[in-house]
């Protein structure tokens, strides 16, 4: 491949494209000007051909470093903010890291990594570096327990769906996401903003949702994505009024009909859709008809280089946008022999649509019978009074485990109404679910934990 055919992110930073910005609550960076600036104090050249760990605290600096390093380093491992310190050593070895870019250089002096490059949001002028190679992008899977897997992507694969969708119509979009951009779902939005000539408003951990939404409004955000849990949290906050994005997307968890309908009511003029993507399989497909699940016709055929099938109930994807490998000494094969990624997401055909029923690993076992908590939550969530729910197992001396559900109501309700709502939910569960899937108890709660990856925390999964 001749160097001219390699596209790095810097090629999308056009000094002639005015008014593009990247912002967080404290700073606004001009994407127009940064083509001639450095966040590495001019030390980019030292990273040429290196395997770089990108370990900075905030997303803004991470974004600036990605834009600068891509096309120069051999590989770049995106370190999410919540990475367990116990896992770092194993990840460094597996990814053959020989350089670290960090905003805390002192911490890495004794790490054994030969090259420590300090990064700083205070940009300095620098000459525009040429693209040398296609940098391998390494991301971590977002599983809650154990050592995360390192997943290797190319920029071409990561941007495959963006290129296939074509440019956004009308004025340049202003993108936002509730995700961290070092996660697959967030990175997709960052790349859309960069590749598509737009701007982006970054999320900030711990920022109150009302402040976040005020920032989205001030910056006239047009395109925004998050997990169903992120969106439920926004809908619950009451902060959504006044915010009117044109494009609303859900991914990362099952988008049930209740959350799709809730978003339709909150954003009546927006395009609302849900996308299927995973760190391993890449972007699979998008569903824009406002209904949960996806048309069965998507299975079997190859579209835009993505081919899907269902084997043993789980969705399998073969795609040019998929990661090319797990990286590391004991890395398992990412695909089967035919090139399909087993997503572990279980689907069920109902009529002419497939519905997601849960994760293969998330099954709870009730007296020997298998239950996907998501299937129960979908039934509970379709009640207008419910904003969010979590089904989980509770140990039982009689059957080993039973299903219980924690439910957040859309509006606070007094005790009498709560009892009525509980009875209605249970009656609906009994009518729609097998007896062992009906929650033994429903507890009304005011909050449910959401992981840093934006997914409902499932401690028993």
């Amino acid at each position: 491949m001749s160097p001219r055919e390699i596209f790095a992110l810097r090629e999308y930073l056009d000094p002639n494209l005015k008014g593009r910005t990247l912002s967080n609550p404290r700073r606004v960076i001009s994407l127009t000007d940064i083509a001639g600036e450095t966040c590495l104090k001019g030390r980019l050249g030292e990273l040429s051909g290196r395997s770089v760990l990108l370990a900075v605290g905030g997303q803004l600096l991470a974004a600036l470093a990605m834009l600068e390093i891509d096309g120069v380093a051999r590989r770049m491992l995106l370190c999410p903010p919540d990475l367990n310190a116990d896992h770092i050593q194993a990840l460094l070895e597996d990814a053959e890291i020989d350089a670290v870019v960090t905003d805390q250089p002192a911490r890495w002096v004794a790490s054994g990594i030969g090259l420590v490059v300090a990064a700083d949001e205070m940009l300095q002028p620098a000459s525009r570096a040429p693209t040398e190679r296609a940098t391998e992008w390494l991301m971590l899977t977002s599983g809650t327990s154990g050592l995360p897997k390192i997943v290797g992507h190319s920029l071409e694969g990561l941007t495959g769906a963006i290129v296939a969708d074509g440019p956004a119509r009308g004025a340049p979009p202003v993108w936002a996401t509730f995700y961290d951009i070092r996660r697959y779902g967030g990175l997709q939005i960052f790349l859309r903003a960069i590749v598509g000539g737009g701007s982006m408003v970054l999320s900030e951990p711990e920022e109150p949702i009302a402040d976040h939404v005020a920032r989205l409004q001030e910056n006239a955000v047009t395109h925004i994505s998050g997990t169903p849990s992120h969106w439920r949290k926004l809908l619950m906050s009451g902060a959504a009024s006044g915010f009117s994005p044109r494009y609303v997307r859900l991914s990362g968890e099952i988008a049930d009909q209740a959350v799709l309908d809730g978003l339709r009511r909150a954003f009546p003029s927006a395009s609302i859709g849900h996308a299927y993507a995973s760190t391993e399989a890449g972007v699979g497909f998008a569903v824009n008809d406002g209904l949960e699940g996806f048309p069965a016709a998507l299975i079997g055929e190859s579209r835009d280089g993505v081919e899907m099938k269902v084997v043993d109930g789980s969705l399998r994807i073969r795609s040019r946008r998929a990661a090319h490998a797990y990286v590391g000494r004991q890395a398992a094969a990412l695909t089967d022999q035919a090139g399909f990624v087993d997503t572990g997401d279980m689907v069920e055909l109902r009529g002419d649509r497939y519905h997601f029923v849960g994760r293969r690993g998330g099954i709870i076992n009730i007296g020997g019978l298998k239950v996907h908590p998501e299937e129960i939550e979908a039934v509970i969530n379709r009640h207008a009074e419910v904003r969010m729910s979590r089904a989980r197992s509770r140990r039982s001396p009689i059957t080993g485990a039973i299903v219980v559900a924690d439910v957040i109501l859309a509006d606070g309700a007094d005790k009498d109404r709560r009892d009525q709502i509980r009875d209605r939910i249970l009656a609906d569960c009994r009518a729609s679910l097998a007896p062992h899937k009906v929650p033994a108890m429903i507890k009304f709660v005011t909050a449910l934990d959401v992981t840093t990856a934006g997914k409902l925390a499932r401690h028993d999964a």
Partner: protein
């Protein structure tokens, strides 16, 4: 001197009695709460219960293991105890009377 001793004696009887009544009241309330939970679950599970006498075997209630699992979990939330998990050697009761006593005999 004598009067004082009588006074203590009376108090001791009174105190003992009040403890007895308190204990009785508590166990009555435990029994009532168990019976009421059984009836509620029976209604939910559409089980027709026979008369809940103490010597009725649990098998004859018409409850399956899932219904008992629900009952034990709800009672744990209501009463704060699960006598079948606390003690490793606890054998599962055979009758309604055994079941209620399992709850009454656990120190709260």
């Amino acid at each position: 001197m004598v009067a004082e001793r009588e006074c203590y004696f009376t108090f001791a009887i009174y105190h003992g009695l009040s403890q007895f009544y308190e204990k009785a009241k508590q166990s009555m309330s435990v029994r009532l709460r168990i019976i009421s939970a059984i009836r509620q679950i029976a209604a939910e599970q559409q089980v027709t219960l026979p008369r809940l006498d103490d010597d009725l075997s649990l098998h004859e209630t018409g409850f399956d293991s899932l219904a008992f699992a629900i009952l034990v979990a709800r009672l744990e939330d209501d009463l704060g105890i699960d006598p079948f998990t606390i003690s490793e050697d606890a054998s599962f009761p055979l009758t309604i009377g055994d079941f209620v006593r399992a709850y009454e005999n656990v120190p709260a």
